[in-house]
Structures are given as C-alpha cells and as structure tokens.
Symmetry: D2
Subunit: 339 residues, 4 copies
C-alpha cells in the first residue's frame, strides 16, 4: 500500500498514519518529497481496507499495490494451470475444449439424443442443468438428482464427461458421484458457504463470473476455492450486465486476455448465456476462440422449440455442426486445436 | 403477451404462432390491421419466455404485458403492507424506522455501547452482522452464533429489536430464536435455496437489492418469499453497480417511488453500504427520507477507527445524533414522523 | 505519480523508468523497500498518460496522485464559489435556487403562462429550450432564436432570469443577448469546441453531466471552461445511464456531496431529466435538496398533455406548488432557505 | 404502437386514449379481450413519445412496435450496403478492410514511416488524428490542418486512403479535400449540428458508437446522416462504458451480429480504443473478424513509446504484422478475405 499525504500534512498526522500502519502489521518506509510525503507499507497481510487509512487526517490518497489474491495470481504459477478433467481431457492445454448440451436435462431420450450429437461433432464434455436457479418462482426448476443420473448415463454411453450446476453446499456429497465438473453459476459466485465446501473437494470447478462482478472479485472467489485446497478451478466468462439491453448480457471477451495476464487459471466462455439468442451464439463462439479461450460452453438442443428452458438460446444440431467446422479453421490462428 | 407479426407475415406463419400460444395455455385474440397482424395472448400463466415466440418465423416483436410477479405487485394489496416487527414497531406505517448499529458485532462491550447510543437517539432496531459474506477469504468473517447472542442481549437491555444477516438456509432454525428480522444480503438476493427456506417462516425479512438486480428481479425474489407463505417482506435499496467508482455503489433513490408504485411492500434504504464513506452517509440518509423511504439502515460505531469491518462507512456517535435531528425536520415534509 | 516496480525489477529497468519520468518533466524521488522499489514523480505537469509508464518493463503499477484538474479543484478555492447570475440571484449561497419552466418554448402564450406561475411559487430562473438536441431526426427540434426571444420577454415580464441550452459554438454571440445562463447539455459535455468558445465569455454556464461521464470527466469539462477564463460554472447532475431501465436515467445524488468535496463549484440537480416521469420528480427533487443541492432545474408545463416535448416529465402547476411547500420544510434541515 | 389498457379501464378512458392517438395522426384498431382492451395504433409517423400515452388514465402499458429509424433499418435495403471509399476499396463487401495508423499525426517522418509499414502488411486506409478531442484541456490537441496535409501526402505516396476525425461542422469544407472518410468520434455521436452538416456531403462517414449509446441511439444518429442524403455510413463499435475498469472500455462485439440484423450498414471495430492497452488489441482484433466485422481500425506506431497520444494502445510494427497473419487464417472461417 502506498499512502500519499496532503501537501500541508503535519508531522503529527504523518506519525499517526505510520503508527496505524505498523499497528496493522505493515512495515513502513517513508519518503519525503518537496511537496508530498509518501509512505510505502509492505507486509504479508492480504486483508485490509484502504479506506481505513484514507479517512485519517492529512491523507490524500491510498493505493493498494498488491493484488488482494495470492493463489489465483499469475505469479503463483507463472507457467499456467492445466486442469485434468478426466478421460484425458485437459482444460488449459493446447486443445480448445467444447462443453455442449441442453440448458436443462428434460428426460432420458432428450439427453441421450443430444449427448450423441454433440459427441459426434467434437464435444468432450456434456453440459446440462438438473438444479436450475430461476429468476421466477413459477419457472421450471429442474429434475434434480434424477436429471443428473440421466445425464451421467448419457455421458457414459457417449464417452463424454459431465458438467452440471450445484446450487447448494448440501449437494456436494451427492453430486460428487455424478458429475466430473461442478459448475458454480453466476448467481452463486459469491455464495461463500458453497465455495468453502467446494474448496474441500478435489473435483474440477467451473466458476462463472457474476453478472456484475469485476475481474478482481471473480479471482477472489477463485481464491476462496483454492484457499480451501482445490486448485482445479476453471473460470467462465458469461456476460456482464450493462446498459445495453438488446442482448441479454454483454459478453466481455477482453476478460480472456486480462485473466490470462493476471492469473494462471484457464478461462472458458459461455456465449449462450452471454447473448441469450441463438443467432448471436455462433459469432460470439468464434470470437471467443479467436480471443484465446480455453474452451466453450454451448447450449445445443435437438428440438429447441420444445425446450423446457432457454430454448431461444440453444443451437439447432446443424448450427452446432457448422460452428465446429468454423472453429476448426480459427483455432490454428491462436496455435490451438479443437476436437 | 402481445405478438406483433411482420408486415409480410404469411397466414401459415400466423397460424403457427397462434397454435404455439394455445399450446402454451394462452387464449388468443387476433387483430388484423392494414400493415401488421397483432395477436393478444391472455392467460393465468406467469412463467413463459417471450423469446420462444420471438424466434418463430414471421414474428416482429413480442411484448409481455403483465408483470412476472403477482403476490408482490401493488394490485395484490392496493392499500400497502405494514410489517409488524415486534414491540409495536411497524415498517411501512407513519413512522420512519431507524435501524442502526455496527457493521459487525465484535464483543459484548462494543455492541452494548452502540445499542445504548443508537437507542438514545431514536433507533428502534439494532443492526449488526455475525455472519459476514466477505469478498476476500482473508477478511474477518464474523463471530457467528456468539455474536448473535451478544447482540440479542444488547438489544434486550435497550428495548431494541434485532436485524442480522443470514447467509445459509441451515441457519434458519438457530437464528429464528435470536433475531427479529432476517436480513438477506445483496449477494444472496438470488440464493433461491435460502429464499425458499425463509418463505416457510413467519418472521419479517429484510431483502436487500442485488448489486446488479433490476427492480423487477428484486420483486421476483420477494415473490419467492411470499409464494412460500411469508408476506412480511421489507425491501432494502443499498446501491447498484455502475461505471461511477468514486462511491462504492450508486444509491438508486428513485427506486423508492418506483417500488411504491409497482408493489405494496415497504422499502428502506441503506446509505452506508450505498456510499461506502462516512461523510456521504448523512446527505444520502436525509435524501432517502425526503424521497419517501419507510426506514433507514445505518452503520454507527462507537470507535469507527477500530472497527473490524467497514469502519470507513460507520458514523461517529455525534454524527448519528446530528443526523437524527435533521431527519426530524425533514420527515413532516413527507407526512411522516421519526423516533 | 507513484510508480511501483515489480519485486524482481532490475536496476536497469528502474533507471529506464527514472529517465523516462525525468524526460516527461517530473522530479523523481526513489524509495527502495525490501520487496518493491517505489518511485515518486512530482511536477507541475497536469497532462500525462499513466499507461505510458505502466507498459515499461519492470513496472507493476502506476498511480496518479494528483487530480488531473486544477482550477476546478476545491483546493483552488477552499471557500467555495458563489455564481452571481443577475438580479441579485446567487447560486451556491444560502438560498436553494429554483429554475423552472417547460422543456421547450412553444409559443408566447405558453411561456408567459408558465413564467407567471413558476414565479408565483418561488422560482428565480425560467428554464426552457429553443434549440433541442433530439435523439431522432424526426422529433421537434425547437423554435430557435424566436423561441429565445419569447422566453426573454416572458422572463422580463415576471422578473425572472433565463437559462437555455446552447448546442453550437456559432450561437454564442446571438444567445449572449438573450440568456442569463448558458446551459451545456449532457450530450455536449465533451464538445470541446463549444466549451472553449464559452470559456471566453463571462456569462454563467450550467454544465450538465454527461450520461456516462465520471465525476472526474465532468470536472475536467469544467476545467476547459475555467481555463478559458470563465469561472462562473454551475454543475448540474441529471442522471447517469445504468442497467436499470425503469427510470430513464439513474439520478446519482451522491454526486452532490462528492462534488462538494472535490470542487468549489456549486451543483444543482435536474430531477425531470433524471427520472423521465412526472410522478418520480417530486420525491427526487426533495431528495436533492436534502442531499445539499444548490438549486433545482424542474420541468413545469401549464398543459403537460399538450407539450411538444417531454410532457411526460413535466409537472402540473399544482404539483409544482405542492413541491415548493415541501421543499420549504426540508431546506432548514440543511441550513438553507428557498424562494 | 400497441396500447394495453388496465383490466378495469372505463369506456370513457378508452375513448380518450383513442382520441388522443387519432389526434397524433394514428389509425387505431381496437381489440376487446376478456380482461384487457388492446389498441393497435398504426401510421407513418416516426416521432412520438410513448410516455405521452402511458401517463393517460386507464393505460397499463404502451409498446412501440416499429423501430424509430427507417433509412438505417435492414428492411430499407435488405441486401446490405457496400460503401465505396475510393481506389476500389469497398467496406461491407467480401474483403475485411484494415484501417491502420497512429493515434495522432505528429510530423511528416512519423506518418510517412507508419503509412509505409501498414501498407506493406495489408492496410487499405491510413488512420490518424489531426483534431483530437481530449478529456483534459492540458493534453495535446493535434496538429490541425497541417497534420491532415502530412497525412494526405503519406497516404498518396503509399496508395492508401485517409480516415480522420472531424470535430466541428465548420471543418467540413476544408477537410473534404483532404480525407476520404470523415470519422465522427464517440463524443460527437450525438452532435446533431455536425451530423446534419455531414449529411449534406456525399463522402463516406465512419460513425463511432458513443460510450453509453444503445444500439438504437447509434442507428438514430446514422439516420440523421442518411436523412440529410448521405447514405455512405460505416458504423464503428469502439467499446462501451461499464462497471469493469480493468480495460478502458468494454468492447461489445455482439453489436456486430445485432447491427447486421437490424440494419443494412457495414460495421467495423476499433479494438485499440476499445481496450486501451496494446496487449489486449490483437486478441480483440481477431475476435472482431471472427464475429463478422467488415473492417478494423487499429492504432499502429513506429515508436509507441514516443507517441504524443495513446502510445499505450498502439501496436509495434511487428505486432501488427503478426496480427495480419493471424487474421488471414481466421477470415476464411467467415467467408471473407483480408488484404
């Protein structure tokens, strides 16, 4: 932390700030300039509120100079993290991993049909929701554990892995048997009770960015998981809320290179949630790969018109097939391969 | 729902849309204009995704004409809701209710001292956190149940009621004995597992608006609580996230008259969270009362400089006293009283 | 500017940064800590791009420690600025100044009728547009100079002053005769050609905040005016664009105490533009005064239903009368009077 | 416009709304349902304020069903617009057009050197600013007409076209001789005096999206140009302002497919302004092409460290060369070519 004192700050005020910093556990070095006195505070402490110093008398500005996270920061693992998901699938390696499937698991036939088709076109992971956090209490809330079992069977039959959303910490035990990747949804990105419980497992976690989460807050949520001991974290950009309402959310693709610089964790993109409309998904999926994403999460449905949730953003099978062809052209531009 | 067809929509396309609407359970009345055919769809169903119709061929635009919530809407209780909190305190009545106290309960002496002072100056409810959802895993996470007990004692000793944040559904039983109002924090506004559990109780719930929640989403979260059977819901505006970073959040005071029109629920304001800085709290507290708030949630600390969390936004005792005096001048302008 | 070097920064990198800073005209003082070297750069230069240093090798973070504006900053005039508008009216003094009138001047009868009524209820300045910057080319664009003349006459007949929007620098000469305050609209807050020309006059300028302008950018636009020699600047908060679309804009009332701390300039509020709906105007007008605004800009129309523009946000005469009564109750709470 | 009446609306209220609509020039067809009466209002009028109807008694909701723009809408030219810029260069055709150059023209040597290198790597248009709208009055404001002349010469010598920003309507005549494309910057997107003047010319105009402009407002600004008679409009996405501050702006790439659907105008992307940092430019440039952009505007400098403005977001020559190679791999995925 760097503390810049006001021009006219008194020696007494400066001493008071120094004492406060020392009391907080920082080492302080002081630098007296012609106009401003600048105090540098260093220490191992990650948690402090710069406002506590900012409001002291004589202080002009306080600047945090270290990131508030440690385990999630690039310097912790400069070489980058590759998350092993199972069946030899690696997120963060040379291959861009496709995770595809319906918004919700609806019945065995539906999930089997979709699993088969996404596998054929190159997906490695089957996505699908069994617990659906819905904005309205009157919306379809998912099939629950039964849905997960259907999904597991469809995945096994098609050599796919399973990613599905967990919405409560009491589900960890039960879901652990059925999924290969826990998905933490945008609304739960700061559900710390859930994060702490997931941090105790070893299973990969796909952590979606909250609708209004800054990149720093997103990395701090990853830090919660890692601090618990689980380093298998995959970040997922899925759009942020802005004033533009034509698309459901604004997909922040610049987050990909930003995260790559700040953190060692792999980052995938969900263009289905990010745009909310089927016809916008392929352009944004292509853009995500071109920008360097480590994978994609795509909603695909065999009959989108009959989907129980979010049919409007699910691709038709032929659209998914065509998208995969386009991605195979783009991937080499970023020195990647695709399934 | 009103469906406007494209100018050149074919009769076949129109029929397809009508069939789809009927299949969704709507009654349809058709109106054929010179240029556009317009379909009006009416029915009791609250849950549907307008995008499902929007993507059908020949459709130009689909407009939802009913609010997606029912129990939370003003038409459900045109006269407005008054929530009885205990000790005769009513939120939504003529008196503007002050809820004041520290960000976190720290020890018995602190909470007793603060309870005494806020009571003296007119507060009716003691606020304070025992479970703190913190952005960083390295921050002080609260004293837990012990903190709640200290708070309960301080409240009893000073004839105050208690409001405190619940962060997980497994805490409902335990907290029910210790608090008078459950507070659902901004990060948990869409934690549906928690909302469903709280909906089964009868205790008043103070529901904070999420950082990026629209007013409609906020009312839908209230609907979750009410649909479970608990109608004692108090809404709390605490600032939304915008591009302006000078204040921690942007307090959206216009939400007060907006909510008053859309819903029958009382609405209070938290200017401490909303601004993040002590010197901005009194102006925004005054503004909230002038705009028609039914109550305020204010952070006050006997020694803000030593607070374990958010000291920067806690008022000094004398600031709180002075604020109360100003509010007593303002309240009559909106035909209200204040403690 | 404070430059924090990476832990492993080489002496060569540090020297390169120092040379660059000196080359930019800064004096540099170096402070070598255990982990980080911190460089403090001081100088009279206001214009520099911190990113130029940020991208140099070995640099971890660069922090600007001085505001990028000088004349607009509180330290330039710690006692605050009172703008003399004419007829003894002062903005920034003890009295909260009411500026009221129609969105657009429509005809002599309309503006005379409105001038009379706003004067009766305590307004000191007549507002009204003659040049209307409209989002759509098909909207009413204002009466131009004729409208200004009608407004001048109505103002004179009722002992009012005139504030009206200028949309182009070529209008300065012509408008100077007809208005008492130039209004710079939100869309023109960064029209620097216009700001430079207005900076050469001595007439008061009401500078609206841009829809997506940070407070710092707003003060920098004020700096353009002041740097040209015109210190009679009144800032006007009128709502910012956020994700919430229920109201036209989100009125950022916290900007009042923020601006009061950062700058010496008076600040008024426009709740009509800020909310876009008549029924939201009185609550937000009351809130603005309670938060410390130096004045209000209110749209009032004798027949809002027939208004040529923005009738939906114009108050009925009786609403304005009632609002003034409420404001007279509130003003003493902030030690102010009102007309 | 569709007007939905409240359930209990009286016949008198309905008649009043119908009269008002007819008075505004609309034809009205009425549809009486079991619960709601719905009024459809059709007419040629583009300009009306739905709020005027919304505030009438008995009205529940009013929905605009036609876009507020006509000439800019896709239905006006379903086949799409190709803008001929000169030297056979077409924006909106099969080739993705590269426009590259420095932020500001600084001197003849600089612009000549950059022109040569961007041409060598495939650019068709030289970009560079001579009039710089700067947030701070203390920043470098550009070389003015001299800069334009230097740029023209550099372009001619390298068979390039010129795009440069115009900041005021009085510059139209002078600039018309020197540039091939007028650039309207983000801050001037709603400078209607400027748009009207440019609408009278025939020269291509690159219209940047305002920092907080919705896509609809952006298209309405294009409508201003087209309504004046100039149909050679190229839209340019350059990032919007959001809560995320890690990047300068949030590049909204989904705007590409959205604009392609709503309008016939070509759309290019400026990833330099959109991100503000050199290392984020290549990923976002690749993403823009993959998402279907018709061209790119890229800042390139022969010596970014010495640039007089925005050096931090200018590519080094070798970065630009490498980016062009990557784009040549990506373009075929969207059935495009690149220079």
């Amino acid at each position: 932390m760097v503390v810049v004192m006001h021009e006219g700050a008194t020696e007494e005020q400066i001493q008071h700030v120094i004492e406060r910093l020392v009391g907080m556990g920082f080492g302080v070095h002081r630098s007296t300039g012609v106009r401003h006195t600048v105090l540098g505070a260093v220490g191992a402490r990650l948690d402090f509120d710069t406002r506590d110093i900012e409001l002291l008398e004589g202080v002009r500005e306080v600047v945090r100079i270290s990131a508030p996270y440690k385990l999630a920061s690039r310097s912790f693992r400069p070489e980058g993290t590759v998350v092993e998901v199972g069946r030899g699938v690696q997120v963060g390696g040379r291959e861009v991993i496709m995770m595809a499937g319906p918004c919700s698991v609806e019945n065995p036939e539906q999930i089997q049909a979709i699993a088969k088709l996404v596998r054929e076109h190159g997906a490695k992971v089957l996505r699908g929701g069994a617990f659906k956090p819905r904005t309205s209490p009157y919306s379809f809330q998912g099939l629950g554990p039964d849905g997960l079992k259907m999904m597991r069977e469809a995945a096994e039959a098609n050599s796919l892995l399973v990613v599905s959303e967990i919405v409560d910490h009491t589900q960890v035990q039960m879901m652990q048997e059925l999924v290969d990747i826990f998905q933490v949804g945008a609304r739960n990105m700061q559900n710390y009770v859930l994060l702490k419980e997931l941090g105790k497992t070893k299973k990969p976690i796909l952590l979606k960015r909250g609708l209004s989460a800054t990149i720093e807050e997103w990395l701090l949520s990853a830090e919660y998981l890692m601090q618990g001991g689980n380093y298998n974290v995959i970040l997922c950009e899925r759009g942020i809320r802005t004033f533009e309402t034509y698309t459901r959310n604004t997909l922040d693709l610049a987050a990909i290179p930003v995260v790559k610089k700040l953190s060692h964790l792999p980052v995938v993109v969900d263009p289905s949630q990010g745009t909310g409309r089927r016809d916008k998904v392929p352009p944004m999926a292509r853009a995500a790969v071109a920008a360097g994403a480590d994978g994609l999460l795509i909603e695909v449905h065999n009959e989108p018109e009959k989907a129980l949730s979010d049919g409007a953003q699910s691709l038709y099978p032929e659209q998914f097939a065509r998208l995969m062809q386009q991605l195979r052209i783009i991937a080499p531009a970023v020195e990647r391969t695709i399934g």
